[in-house]
Symmetry: C2
Subunit: 370 residues, 2 copies
C-alpha cells in the first residue's frame, strides 16, 4: 500500500498546476503539442461519420483495437523497415498505457535509462518498484528516433548499444517529428524478437484522443493482448475511429511534413533568443517539442522554479527527467517551444534570464564577468 | 513474467470471438448495451461542439479529468445520499480502469467476492496475484445496486454484511438500470471512509467512449490521483467532453427512464420464452442486461458452449463468473437480453433448448420425465 505520494513530485506538480492556471505566467513547461495544429475540421467531420455511420465505434470492441487502425500502424512501421503485421499491433490509450502493459508483463527488477529521460516513464518505473539507473541492465528503455528531453536522434553506435540489452523498450513517441526527415528505421526493424515498440498519435494528431500502440515481440503477443483486455479493456473506440479516418486520408503525410516545418520554425525562434539566458548550455534539437538547457547552478529545482514563477515564467525542472542518484548534477530545465505563444517567447526568456541572474551567487557572477 | 495466457479463458475467448464473427450465430453473450440506444445525434452534435469549440478537449489535461464532469458525477452521487465533492472524483477509462487503480493502491493479498461475479474483476484479481474467494476477507468486491450476473439488488442485510469488510470496492456499473426505480443509495453514502466507489457511463451512454469514475476514501485520494497520472495519464478528453455535454442536458434523466423501460421490456420478452429450456432455473432480474440461468448439468462449460455454437447460439459460460474452487457446481450461463435482436430470441432459445437436450444424459432426461 502506498498512500502518500512522492513529496518532491507533488510539490512540483502543485507549482506547475498553479502556474498553468495563472494567465500571467508564460509557460515553457508541459511539452504540449500546439493546440492550433489539431486538425479540428477533419476531426469534426470524422467524428460525425464515426458516430452516425460506424456502429461499432461506440460499442464494446476487442481489446487489441480496430482492425483497420492496426493495419495502418503496421503499414507505417513496414514502410520504416519493420516486419510487423496488423495482428501484432495492440492499440493502447497512448504510449504511456503501452509502457504500463510492458512493465506489467516483464516486471523487470531493474531497468537502464538515459541520464535524462521521460518523466512519465521514470514515474511508472518507480511505481512498478523497478530500480532505475544508467548502467547496463537486462531491460533498456530508450528513445532512439528522438530523445526526450535532449532532442537528439541516436547514432548508429548508440543504437547498437541500446540493442545490447536483453529486452529493449523503444519509445517512438516523437519519431514523426524530426525536423529534417521522416521517421527513422525503428530498433524494432533490427531486433524484432526483443524490442517492445511503443508509439502514439498524441504528438501528431491530438493527445486528448488517447490513442497509441504497442508492438511486442511475437512470443509476448498473447500475454500482451490478455493484459490489455484485463486493464481497460480497450482504447476509446470513438478516438480510434477518428484516427483511422485521418490516417486514411492522403493528406496525412502532408500534415506530418507541415508539423515538422511548424515545430522547426518554433524551435529556431526559441533558440535564436536563448542566448539571453546567462551561463547556460544548449544545442539545437533534431526534432520534437523542447530544448534541454543546463545551467552552472547547484541547488534545488523546486526553489529555482519558485523563483521563476514569482517572475511569471515556468519550465519543466531538470530533476523530473533524471533518475535519482545519478550524482550531483547542475540544475537543468526543459524549455518547450511547441505550445508557448510566439509573441511571448522573448518576454518569457527575459523573465527566465532575470531569474537565473537572481539565483546565481554573486561570486559566480563575478568569476564569469572577469 | 507471465507469457502464457490462461488456457481455459483463451479457449473460451476464441470460441466467443468466432461466434461473434459468425452471422449465423444468435448471441446471448457479451452483456453489451443495445447499440440502438446510443444517443447518436446528441453525441454527434456534442462531438462537433467539443472539437471545434472546447480547446482543451483535444489537449493534454489533468489526470483526474474535466472539472465540470467531476462536478456532475459528484452531484449525481450527492442526490443519492453520498457526501462527495468534485475534487474527490477521478475520471477513468471506464469502471475497469477504476478497479485497476484500486488494486494498484491496495494490492490486497485476498479479496471476497460473490459466488458469481463480474469476469473482468476476477481476471484482474488474478493478474494482481490476489486470492479470491467467497469467505470474509479484509477487502470485499461487490455490486450492491445490481449484482452481475444474478441481477438482484442487495437487501439491507446484504448491504450490512458487505460493509463488515475493512475495505469495500463498490462496483456501481448497473446502478442506473434498475427496472423499477432510480439508482439506490450507494454503500459510499453509508461508509465514506472505507468504500472505493466505481462507476461507468458504458451502460447508459456508450462503452466505446470509455468514461467511468472512481471515488476513493479521502485518505486515498492523493495516491489515487497519482496512480491515475502515472497510468495513462488521463481518460479520453474528447469522450469526457461528450459525456459532460450529454449529462448537462435536461433530457439525460428522461433518457435513463427510457433505457430502464427498454431493458425491462427486453428482459420480459426473454423471460417469457425461457421456459422452453429444459431443466433450468432462473428468476426475473431487477435490472441490467442479463439473466442468470442454472442447469442441472455437470461437466465442461467449454463443451457446452461448443455444442451450442454448433447449433448457432452463444452465451457467456457460467465458469467465467465463478472464482475457482467454489466447489462442484452445476453448469450455468448468463443470457443477455440487452443486445440480441428481438426477432432472434425465440429461435435462439430453441437452439439452446436443443443443445441442452442433446448434452443431457438420457438417464437424467428419463428421471425428469417420470
Amino acid at each position: 500500500m502506498q498512500k502518500s505520494p512522492d513529496m518532491k513530485t507533488l510539490a512540483l506538480d502543485q507549482l506547475l498546476r498553479t502556474s498553468a492556471r495563472n494567465e500571467g505566467v508564460i509557460s515553457f513547461a508541459g511539452g504540449l503539442p500546439a493546440s492550433r495544429t489539431f486538425p479540428r475540421s477533419g476531426l469534426a467531420q470524422a467524428a460525425s461519420h464515426a458516430i452516425l455511420e460506424m456502429q461499432e465505434a461506440l460499442q464494446y470492441d476487442w481489446p487489441e483495437g480496430r482492425r483497420t487502425l492496426r493495419e495502418q500502424v503496421a503499414e507505417r512501421l513496414q514502410a520504416r523497415g519493420a516486419e510487423v503485421s496488423a495482428d501484432e499491433v495492440i492499440i493502447t490509450n497512448g504510449a504511456q498505457d503501452a509502457l504500463g502493459l510492458v512493465l506489467e508483463l516483464l516486471a523487470p527488477p531493474s531497468i537502464q535509462v538515459d541520464p535524462e529521460t521521460y518523466p512519465g516513464a521514470l514515474d511508472m518505473f518507480k511505481r512498478h518498484r523497478c530500480a532505475v539507473g544508467v548502467k547496463p541492465a537486462p531491460v533498456r528503455y530508450c528513445m532512439p528516433a528522438l530523445q526526450n528531453p535532449r532532442g537528439y536522434s541516436a547514432s548508429p553506435e548508440q543504437r547498437a548499444q541500446m540493442l545490447e540489452a536483453a529486452v529493449v523498450i523503444e519509445d517512438d513517441a516523437y519519431a514523426e517529428l524530426l525536423f529534417e526527415s521522416g521517421p527513422p528505421r525503428p530498433l524494432l526493424a533490427d531486433a524484432r524478437d526483443k524490442v517492445f515498440h511503443l508509439g502514439s498519435f498524441s504528438k501528431t494528431l491530438s493527445p486528448g484522443l488517447r490513442v497509441g500502440w504497442l508492438v511486442p515481440p511475437q512470443e509476448w503477443l498473447s500475454a500482451a493482448r490478455e493484459a490489455k483486455a484485463s486493464r481497460d479493456p480497450q482504447a476509446c473506440g470513438l478516438s480510434q475511429a477518428l484516427v483511422e479516418q485521418l490516417l486514411s486520408s492522403p493528406k496525412f503525410d502532408d500534415r506530418l511534413a507541415s508539423l515538422r516545418r511548424h515545430y522547426r520554425s518554433r524551435a529556431e525562434q526559441l533558440l535564436a533568443k536563448l542566448p539571453v539566458l546567462p551561463r547556460v548550455h544548449f544545442s539545437m534539437p533534431s526534432g520534437g517539442f523542447s530544448v534541454w538547457v543546463t545551467t552552472e547552478l547547484h541547488g534545488s529545482d523546486e526553489a529555482l522554479l519558485r523563483e521563476a514563477l514569482k517572475r511569471g515564467v515556468a519550465f519543466d525542472p531538470g530533476c523530473l527527467f533524471r533518475p535519482t542518484g545519478v550524482g550531483d548534477l547542475t540544475l537543468a530545465m526543459r524549455l518547450s517551444f511547441s505550445s508557448v505563444p510566439e509573441a511571448d517567447i522573448e518576454t518569457g526568456l527575459e523573465r527566465l534570464a532575470n531569474t537565473l541572474e537572481a539565483v546565481t551567487p554573486s561570486r559566480q557572477r563575478r568569476q564569469r564577468a572577469a
